[in-house]
């Protein structure tokens, strides 16, 4: 009994100290990338809402600019029509509604909120990029730090990602389609989130599966190098992926 009491005490101590260990880099990056993706989605919705609102006042400008980044920059100094740089004549001719001072002010404050969110998103991205370069440089070089972090998030950790077969990594993020197929409905998915890579999504549809498979192979190898050694293989893998991409692009 006392022996077991001691064992229980020891177990409790060990469990607590394990819980208190310093957080691992990959777990922090995973939280950050989830936050970034959530924030990006919200930002996009809110920005659409803002543009809709601002269009009451200056519809011509909103029609002219298609890139959100561009809108952010142009309106950076203020929302007043006549003060928007480079669009003076458009402002003069504008058929937008007149706004009272206080109405424009509220619009300005809402825009300020969006600017802050935009900046926070940028900071998150920088944090993820620098953390990934430190902790998972090879897979980051191959896929870009953000996509690499998203794959890590789907796998659960860098170690989990390194342990997965390439065919699984190719499908990460496409579980819904994959299981639908396994249950006997539909066609097998060719790629999961790895589709975000430009080498995959810029190819014609019938080549994407091949490229995704190739890239997933290299991604797993890179993750293994990151997890279990400190070699530098990222560049080499990226070069091979680029060659494959060129080859597939030129085929017909």
């Amino acid at each position: 009994m006392t022996d077991k009491t001691d064992k229980r005490k020891e177990a409790l101590e060990r469990a607590k100290s394990r819980l208190r260990e310093e957080a691992s880099r990959d777990q922090l990056v995973i939280k950050a990338v989830k936050m970034l993706d959530e924030a990006s989605g919200n930002f996009q919705d809110e920005f659409e809402r803002f543009k809709d609102w601002y269009s009451i006042y200056f519809p011509e400008l909103m029609e002219e600019l298609s890139e959100d980044e561009h809108v952010m920059k142009i309106l950076d100094k203020g929302l007043k029509r006549e003060e928007v740089k480079g669009f003076e004549s458009m402002a003069e001719e504008s058929t937008g509604k007149a706004l009272k001072e206080e109405d424009l002010e509220m619009l300005q404050r809402s825009f300020g909120m969006l600017q802050k969110k935009h900046q926070a998103k940028g900071e998150l991205e920088e944090y993820i990029e620098s953390s990934m370069k430190e902790d998972a440089s090879n897979i980051s070089t191959l896929l870009g730090p953000l996509l690499a972090a998203r794959l890590m998030a789907l796998a659960g950790s860098l170690e989990e990602l390194a342990k997965k077969p390439a065919s699984t990594v190719q499908m990460l993020g496409a579980e819904k389609a994959l299981f639908r197929y396994l249950r006997g409905n539909g066609t097998p998915p060719k790629h999961g989130i790895i589709f975000e890579h430009e080498y995959v999504n810029t190819l014609p549809e019938d080549k994407r599966g091949k490229m995704a498979r190739f890239l997933a192979n290299k991604a797993v190898m890179a993750a293994r190098v990151d997890q279990y050694s400190d070699k530098n293989k990222g560049e080499e893998y990226r070069e091979k992926a680029r060659e494959k991409y060129e080859e597939l692009k030129e085929e017909d």
Partner: protein
Amino acid sequence: MDEIQPGIFSQNDNLYTVNQVPGEKVYGESLQEIDGVEYRAWHANRSKVAAAVKNGIDLAVSQEDDVLYLGAASGTTVSHFSDILTEGFVFAVEYSETVGRDLVKVADKRENIAPIIADARKPENYSDLVPEVDVVFQDISQRDQPEIFIKNAKKFLKEDGIGLIAIKAQSISSSREPEKVFEEAKEKLDEEFEIVEETRLEPYEKDHLFLKMKLK
């Protein structure tokens, strides 16, 4: 209250264990005092062991037994074992730190729970914390569930001990028929164990099999 198995009580078709930490709830379950004894409700749809008892399995766990519990999660079912084992211990292994934190909280208040945050695939990592036990119970939703169970039972289970396992078909294969998955799992376990009782866990859990076994 009728004691239907050692430490397990039943009233109006509900299961209860005697709260070893009176006044404390572990996961929001209801407490009920009868003749100065506080009972904690043990819901069959929240605990696979409770579901197995409801479906007629005789756990054969007695109050001085020691139990190795694999897949302890936040310690809700573990806490009922802690109630039952008034003279014994439950060594509760959980892999995830997130739910392991809840388990540690439960163990802090109950002196017969030893929380172990470790991978049950590697029993050598906790062999110094676990003695020979009378019961090994496993509720781990992993594809290699039977293998993990065998590994641990061989290492820690007494020769005449009891093995209890809850198998979730979905986590072994999501595409094959549950029946086939269960057959395969049973074949694997059959190499080391004799299956003495079994039940499905419907209506409490979908496509789950519960086995009671003895070492061959």
